[in-house]
């Protein structure tokens, strides 16, 4: 299923439809950022109108904008992803073609030295646990890692990755090899943090599939919340290292799903 590269305008239709579809199955959790926006918006709007002076009008306008944003379900993705580093860069490829390059990058600060954390990251079992929210990662001989994202269009999305750059205690870079629907690369960087904060760790994924599915669509393959992919992986790494385990509520007693929920 090869995607033709479309002009940016043509893509919006597809995106709008998808978001509309997503909007229909909002539960109260998914609604939270929107509700927050609606809360702030409604508050500012009412206060602003009540004051009725120039400052009040400005406040009402600002409030109205937020309220609008809060109650719409078919928003631009960059609005919904507000606060998360998701960049879609355009890279010129050939004369007439632009390709979207999706970069997911987040940083986290955790206890431990860069050296110790780097070693922990390199432990083959760690990556499997840390990426467990979306992929199974196993060592597959010849220094390769095998990544498997289950359940995409009824079958798993898989690739092998190789380490292409390694600076112990500082940086590790990897890249998918061979034929895959989702070519990608990534790196993780460890830097000493100030005072007693330990180490800042930055994780970046770049999805840049030449000739395959493109940009945003590729990221969609990774599930409902690709913008959180890097952040969740880092949070899981942090909890694993600092607290010895990754927090979970699965399974959780509840009056649903056979007495449990996840």
């Amino acid at each position: 299923m090869r995607d033709t590269i479309q002009p940016p305008g043509a893509r919006l239709g597809d995106r709008g439809r998808r978001l509309l579809e997503r909007g229909r199955r909002f539960d109260s959790e998914a609604l939270l950022p929107q509700l927050a926006s609606a809360l702030v918006g409604g508050t500012l709007l009412t206060l602003g109108l009540r004051r009725g002076r120039l400052g009040g009008v400005a406040m009402a306008l600002a409030g109205g904008g937020l309220l609008f944003r809060g109650t719409r379900t078919d928003q631009e993705p960059h609005v919904r992803k507000h606060g998360v580093v998701v960049r879609t860069l355009r890279r010129q490829r050939g004369r007439d073609t632009t390709v979207e390059l999706t970069v997911l990058q987040r940083s986290i600060t955790l206890q431990g030295t860069p050296d110790a954390l780097y070693r922990r990251w390199r432990d083959p079992e760690t990556l499997n646990q840390v990426m467990g929210h979306f992929a199974e990662v196993t060592a597959s001989g010849d220094g390769l890692q095998h990544w498997k994202v289950p359940g995409v269009f009824g079958k798993a999305l898989e690739w092998d990755a190789e380490v292409v750059e390694e600076h112990p205690g500082e940086l590790l870079r990897w890249r998918s090899v061979g034929d895959t629907a989702l070519p990608n690369e990534g790196w993780v960087r460890f830097r000493r943090a100030p005072a007693d904060w330990g180490t800042s760790v930055t994780l970046r994924f770049v999805f840049d599939p030449p000739g395959g599915v493109v940009g945003e669509k590729a990221v969609k393959l990774l599930g409902a919340l690709p913008s959180l992919l890097a952040l969740k992986a880092l949070k899981r790494f942090k909890s694993l290292v600092e607290a010895g385990e990754i927090p979970t509520t699965r399974p959780n007693p509840a009056a649903r799903e056979g007495g449990y929920s996840s």
């Binding site: 950022p33 927050a36 606060g83 206890q111 600092e242 607290a243 927090p247 959780n252 799903e257």
Partner: protein
Amino acid sequence: MRALCWNGINDLGVETVGDPRIVNPRDVILQVKMSTTCGSDLHFIDGYIPSMRKGDVIGHEFMGTVVETGPEVKKVHVGDRVVVPSFICCGSCWYCQHDLWSLCDNTNPKGELQEPLFGYQTAGIYGYTHAFGGYAGAHAQFVRVPHADTDCFQVPEGVTDEQALFLSDAVPTGYMGADFCGIQPGQTVAVWGCGGVGLMAQKAAFLLGAERVVGIDRYPERLKLAREQVGAETISYEEVDSVLDVLKELTGGRGPDACIDAVGMEAHGTGVVAAVDRARQALHLQSDRGQALRQAILACRKGGTLSVLGVYGVMDAFPMGVIMNKGLTVRSAQQHGQKYLPRLLEHVVKGELDPSFLATHRFSLEDAPRGYELFKKKQDGCVRAVFLPN
């Protein structure tokens, strides 16, 4: 097991749900001996805080007996009688190590839901919405307690179940609020709210050296508890023209050295689901709640301290200029229970603190919805309803 579940806005029911299991290696399973209602539960029962899901088990203030331990649990043993703070904490992140327990980085599996609201995530809580982790609560026969070695505190001989119960949440919250005030001998502390947390803040202010404590509320039976159980002076804000004037007169025109806002979000209206309607209702609610906070800011003496324990959402029209011009210090937090529990247990053992008078009503778990009704409507002098599930 049986558990009290949130089935929708203002719809609580006791249901049969699955027993909790050891999931992570530092978990224990607690057989709950007692749990109690908390004002902050009312926020999501009424639907003002989103991210509850139908069927969630609620309740975050509890004590009980350990019945099962995970393989990595070292200090806690089967049979231990323990009290557990309502925030789940890892004990090893920067925040836990700096005694900022409710800000723990590692116990909220759904922390990303909080980031649009708060910028960063907080710790997880039992039975308190999915934004706060989605953990099953303790109004149940059993509850799973993660990071048990950090979060379970042995209840010494001679301390009753009821005394221990309130050390889970109401007492450490109130104590922390008084601790934030940096009370010096001879000082006067005013506390808005005479519910469980407010009464404990008043008691703690005395324990920390305050000379005078003033409790402000409108329910006569709560004001009576403040006078008789805590030894505070009281103001019924419905019976005076100006709380500010009364506080000024009580302090020779100077104002209280520290003011504690322990007014929880109150219940108003019912059954609104649409986000915009909810926002409008929340606005109405905020102006109500804002009154106590603004009054505290006005009443506080120049250069004094404002300590905020009341639960707020997105606060509008915050009088920052008053705080700035009066040179107030503002401190606030959700409770850092793990910091205070050892010293609170000591106070109880020495007989300096007995919070069991908060337990005005007792119910079996099966009657818990009735308990919440009484608690919410503050009928029959209900300060806290205690549930006995087993």
